[in-house]
Structure formats: structure tokens, C-alpha cells
Subunit: 460 residues, 2 copies
Amino acid sequence: MSDEDIAEGVRDDEMSGPDSRRVAAVIEAIDAKDKDRLDALLEPLHAADIADVLEQISAPERRDLLQLWSREIDGEILSEIDESIREEVVESLSPEVLSEAVRELDTDDVVDILEDLDEPQQELILDALDDADRVAVEQAMAFPEYSAGRLMQRETVIAPDDWTVGAAIDYLRGADWLPDQFYHVILVDPRMKPLANVTLGRILSAKRDTRLRDIAEEVFRTIRATEPESEVAYLFNQYHLISAPVVDEADRLVGVITIDDAMNVLDEEHEEDILRLAGVGEGSLSDNWIETTKQRFPWLFVNLLTAILASGVISLFEGTLSKIVALAVLMPIVASQGGNAATQGLAVAVRALATKSLTNSNAFRVVLREIAQGLANGLAFAILIGAVTWYWFGLPMIGVVIGLAMIINMFAAALAGLLIPLGLEKLGFDPALASGAFVTTVTDVVGFFSFLWLAGLILL
Amino acid sequence: MSDEDIAEGVRDDEMSGPDSRRVAAVIEAIDAKDKDRLDALLEPLHAADIADVLEQISAPERRDLLQLWSREIDGEILSEIDESIREEVVESLSPEVLSEAVRELDTDDVVDILEDLDEPQQELILDALDDADRVAVEQAMAFPEYSAGRLMQRETVIAPDDWTVGAAIDYLRGADWLPDQFYHVILVDPRMKPLANVTLGRILSAKRDTRLRDIAEEVFRTIRATEPESEVAYLFNQYHLISAPVVDEADRLVGVITIDDAMNVLDEEHEEDILRLAGVGEGSLSDNWIETTKQRFPWLFVNLLTAILASGVISLFEGTLSKIVALAVLMPIVASQGGNAATQGLAVAVRALATKSLTNSNAFRVVLREIAQGLANGLAFAILIGAVTWYWFGLPMIGVVIGLAMIINMFAAALAGLLIPLGLEKLGFDPALASGAFVTTVTDVVGFFSFLWLAGLILL
């Protein structure tokens, strides 16, 4: 495939992000400092794909690309760029390019960019905005981080609720600005309290003299500006909302959140869950190895402490171990099986808490279920591993010991996997913080202790 | 709070699902067989919340509720219900209630319900539909499971691309049916090939004589009906689509997918990732303990095999262990630390593959980064644990042994955590199948082997 084909054959690439051939061609163009070829390769791409290219090339390549192509970076690309490289990109832009870029964005996108930047860069961007936008952005930044107020766009399309369809259409035709995307006309009372949503589809298909309030949607929910964004994502997903008005403490309309923002939040929440469960606080593929090392160290350190704790438990039984070395061979099996069972329960619990399926109403029943499941699988694996070790070491009693320890540890695993995230949630923490390290401490300690203690009791 | 308060004070509950007080009141009403109270408690709720109530009560309570209240189950509730209890609910409905329920749904929702049911129940529902809908549903079911064709609704709003805004509005006003929700008018050529999307907002704000093609959206993507639904979710999230036309092999329009469906898929994909990573294939909170035990058994069995493999490695060094029991105390530390490091890398890789951030373009660089990170953290923890064990056992050389083993295992962890999911992806499997069990096999084996082998070499 020639370069021209790649530059022209955009369709397939567009289906699912920039492909590797294109990225390779971009890197070649950067190395050759060939601005025209770079244009041909990048211009046909969606801003989100250009951002992906920027993320997928190396830091020096990115530096060169930005030098060559910085004038083409617009607001849309800026708002698509991952926060891990955003600072780097913003720094590379001239003040003129930057101000032009941010001026074309809706206020919610400007807020999204600002959040991740340092103070001096924030100032740079705020200065680039005209006064009205600057005030709007500063007001949004006054809401807590990760709140609906930060997420909303302030541009709303409203109408008094006694208007007719015809009046609304005439008003919209005459409006000199409208948001890029809007899906509802929000009906408000004279005090700006939102009363109902009318979908544009219904406005378009109704007669001109129909009252807006008569074709309003049945399902209507407002969101408080201080509500956390995770709640926003939940509401959109649960009630299939497309857009929802945001209100202040006095129930006055202050903005609107659309589903694409909520989908983005849902995606980020999931990322957080999956990374936290694995003991990675944050991190992106664009981070270099030093940043990555630092990000992973803390949880590994916690794990080291818990591993030392487990070793301490083993050391209580050095006497037993020195008499029967086979115990040292077998003891990791009990701990590992418990760790795995706990991780299973943990993932189910974290997911169920995130979707609000695990509540006070069914928590007790789910605890009972986990216990029953733990005992049942414990019994199954007790028989399996008991038989294997009996055969392996020719000692029936060692099979009994490992079997009993297995049942005890699977029971502990069932409890730990559910109660630790549930407890964290009750205490107001993110249950996904109950990452492997915490939960497997329980199963390591219980596993080693029960196995070695029973061995001392039964075999010696 | 009295029952009336709960039944009336709906607003707060509506903000985020049914609360536990309401569920408790529902259970009381079920026990008292009080249909009126049940009505008062459930009627104000959104269908999604009624479905949640059904999921959160126990199986016998659900049976009683359905007996008392089955006539009120409508299509919306049916399509909100989790698949784990859907069969149960469908079975409890009389044929008349069932047919009325499914008849009010769009075809995509009927397909969604059908997918999870057994053949006889599918027939029951298909029979309830009128002929046109039945054909539409059967055509959708002919597409592969988890494809765009199953996800789309067949009801589309189209216009020839030379129409004006006025013509479109007149046509919409005269249309005797329109989908519940639509966000675009799709412009098509005479062969029904989709050419562009026009948002309803632009139609409403443009003059009547404006040509639709002149106000079409710049970003326009069509989706093939055979495309997997995960790709659909990616496209909506990546390009902030609100709705997208679905085409057949001949590029003819066959349906449309809206963002709420895509958001739902995104959520399900995440659930799958998080559960698979933890070695839980599927499962829901409504499953009973027997189902749960069966679901968790297979991965626990795989883990047992890998744990036995690790034990086999340890047994190679029984001689060494019998001479220095301290090794048995320390060996789980190396394995555990490696397992944790691998899990971190694994979660990052699985997430990056799901968002298409990890590609051929940067895979090599990410491998190098993981190796550097593994060696750096390995060195840090080698020094830490080396010092601790030296102090603990008073033997400097045991600190050296555990330190070296730590570096080797963290290096192995870095490779396994990244290369195993990457390899699975290349082979066409879901990288999230590289659940803990697989990856930690590597770190267990390498951890035990390197530690005990080095100990034999250096200490004996």
C-alpha cells in the first residue's frame, strides 16, 4: 500500500481508530519533517483519532510532530487528548493557537481541559477566553471536582411551558446561537425551575398549535449540580436519559448534561474500578517507565507488608515444617485457592455495588449465598486435593489436613471477598480499593494458619 | 416514615433507584397479599426501578409478587429485567399479558428479550407479535449474536438528500408513526444508501427552504450489521455519536443504533472484563448458591491445577527446604509480590486493549516500559525485602537470595502481565480471559523456582 493509498483509503481506518500503517506513515513524515505529508495523513482523521495518534507515538516523536504541526491543533483535538499528555501538548502551542483552539469549544469542554492542567496553564487558557465564557468556566470550576456542575454545559435551550410548538420553532429559527448538540427543549417556569423535557422529534412531528407541555416526556429527572458524576452516569444508564437539566440548590436551571458526557464518565468509572481492583491507582500507556514505577510501587509495598505478615504466620510453625517438609510443598495450594475464590467474590461485589444491585435489601441474602457457595466449592476442592495429596504423598491423613484447611479457607474467602468491599462502601470509600492485596491477606493468613495448625494437630 | 410517605415521597427514591425502605415495604405488601399497597408502592416507579425491585427480593418473594401483580408487568419492565430472572418472569405471565407487553415494544427491545429465552418461550413471544413485527424480529435474530444487526432498531426516519427543511417538517408532521426516540433524519440516495445525518436541532433552527444536505453533520459513520457490538460501543464512545445508520453488505440502510443501546453494551463489556479478569465467567446477584457454585468452579479448578504445578516446582527442592526451614517461611513473599505485579500489568493491558490504546504502533514501547518498570520495582523491593530478611534471620546471604529472586520474578511478572493478554488478543481471544489464574501461574513457578534454586546454589 503506498502512502497515497493510506492517506486516501480513509474509510476503513475511520471505522475503528487510526491503524498501525497510518501511525507508521506519520512517524516517517515526522522524521522527514514533511509537513505536507503529515497534513495528508492527519487531516482526514477525526479529532479523536488524531489524539490517538499523538498518544501512540513516543514522546520525542510527539515533540517533533507538535513542532511541525502545532498550528493545526484545534479545540476538538485538545479536548480529545488523554490527560496524561495534555499538559505537554498545551505547552507546545503558541498563545494564539491555544486561544483560538479553546474559543471554539463549549464551556464544558474547556472545563474538562482546565481540570487537568497546572495553575499557570489554566491562567493561559482563561485569558484566551472572552469575558462571558471566562465567567462561565470559572463558575463551573467553582463546583467540586467530579460533580455534575463540572460536567454540564451551561448553554441550554428553554421555553415557557405554555408555548406552542409553532412558537418554539419560530424561536429556534430566530435564535442567533444554539448549542452544537441538543436533544430537548426544557420547559421552565418563570423562576427558571425546569418542569419537563420535550424531545425535538416530538416538536417536529406535532402540529404547530400543539402545546409543548402536552407532548412533554413522561420520564423527567433533574440533577443537582453538586451530585457526583458517578451518580450522573448511573442515572443516564438506569433511566436511558439522553439529556437532563442540572439545577442549583434553589431548583433553578443552571445547565444541561448530555448522554455523551455521561457515557464518558461511565467509561472512566469502569477504568477506575478495573485498575483499582488490580492495585493500580491511575496510569496511562503514555506514561514513561519512571512514572509507571512510581504509580505501581505503593500497592506493591502494601502487598509486601501483607506477604511478610503471611510469612510471620508460617514462621509460627517452623517446628512442624522442619518435621514434615511436604507441608512446605503443599501450603501454597490452600492459600492460592482461597485467594482466587476471594477475588471472584470481590469482583462480583464491586460490580454489584457500582450498579446498585447490591443493597441493604439483599446484602444479607447475598452473604448467605456466598457462604453456601464457599462451603460447597470448599468441599468439592477438599475432596479433589485431598485425594491428590493422599496419592502423591501416600499419607491419607495429609489429605484430610489439606482438605479441612481448604474448606476453612474457602469459607474465609467467601466472607472476605464480600464483606471487605461492602464495609468499605458503608464507610464511604470506593469498594474497588479492596484490591487483591487486602482481600488475599485474609486468605493467605487463614490458609497458612489453618493448614499448618491442623497439620501439627493431626500429623504430629 | 409511614407507608404513605414512602409511597408518596417518590422523588428522592427516583434519584437513584428504589431504596431499601421501599423494598422492605414491597416485601410486607407481598406477605400481606395486599395488591393495592403493592400498586401504590410500585406504580410511581420507573420500569427500570421496578425491575430492580424484582431482582432484589428473594426468589419466593418474587414468585408471590408476580402472582399478585403479574397483570401489571408491561413491555418496558420486561425489557429492563436482568436476564438471570427474565425466564422466570416470562413464565409467570399469562399469554395475554405477555403479548400485550411485547407488542408495545420496539423490535430491538423484543430481540433483546428473545435472545435470553429458551425456544418454547421464544415461540410464545413471536406468536404474540403481529406479522410485520414478527418478520422484523426474525430478520434481526438472523444476524449473529452480539452483532450490530441484533442491536439496531429497524424503524428509521429517512429523507431524500435533495429535500428541504420545510419538506422534512411537513413529512414528519404527516407521518402516522415515528420511533419513540430519534435524533437524526438520515439522508439516503434512491438505492437506500445512507449519505448523511441531519440533527433535529439543525432542522428546527434552519429556514424552511434550506436544503437538508447543506446542514448535514460533518462526522458521519455507518455501521455494518455484522459488526460486533463491542465495536459499536467503541465507535459511539470514540466519536461521540448519538445515533448511527446500520447497513447491509450492499450498503443499504437496514436500521439505526442509538447511543443508549451503545451505552448499555459498553456497560456490559466492562462487566465482562471485570468478571473475566477475576475468573468469574458470568453470574448475577439473583443466581442462587448452586448456580453460583457451578459458575465459580471451573476457574477455581484451573487455579487448582496451576497451584499443584507450583507445588511440583517446590517439591523439586525438598532437600534444600529440609535443610533450611526459613526458606519455607520466605518463599511465599517472592511469589505473592510477583503475582501482584503481574496483576497490575494485566489490568492495564486489558483496559488498554479494550480502548484500542495498545496497538501494534506502541506495543513494543509498552513492553520495554513494563520491563524497565519491573526491573526498577524489582530492585526496590529486592533491597527492602533483602534488608528485612537479613535482619529477621541474621543471615546476610538469605537477603541476597530473596533479593535476586525478587528481581527475577518481578521481571517475569512484567512480561507475563503484558504478553499473555497481548498474545490472547492476537490469537483472537478476549484478553480478559488471561485471568489471575493464568498469569500468576508464571509468577508462582518463577518465584518459587528462582528463590529455592538460588538458595540451594548460594546457601548450601
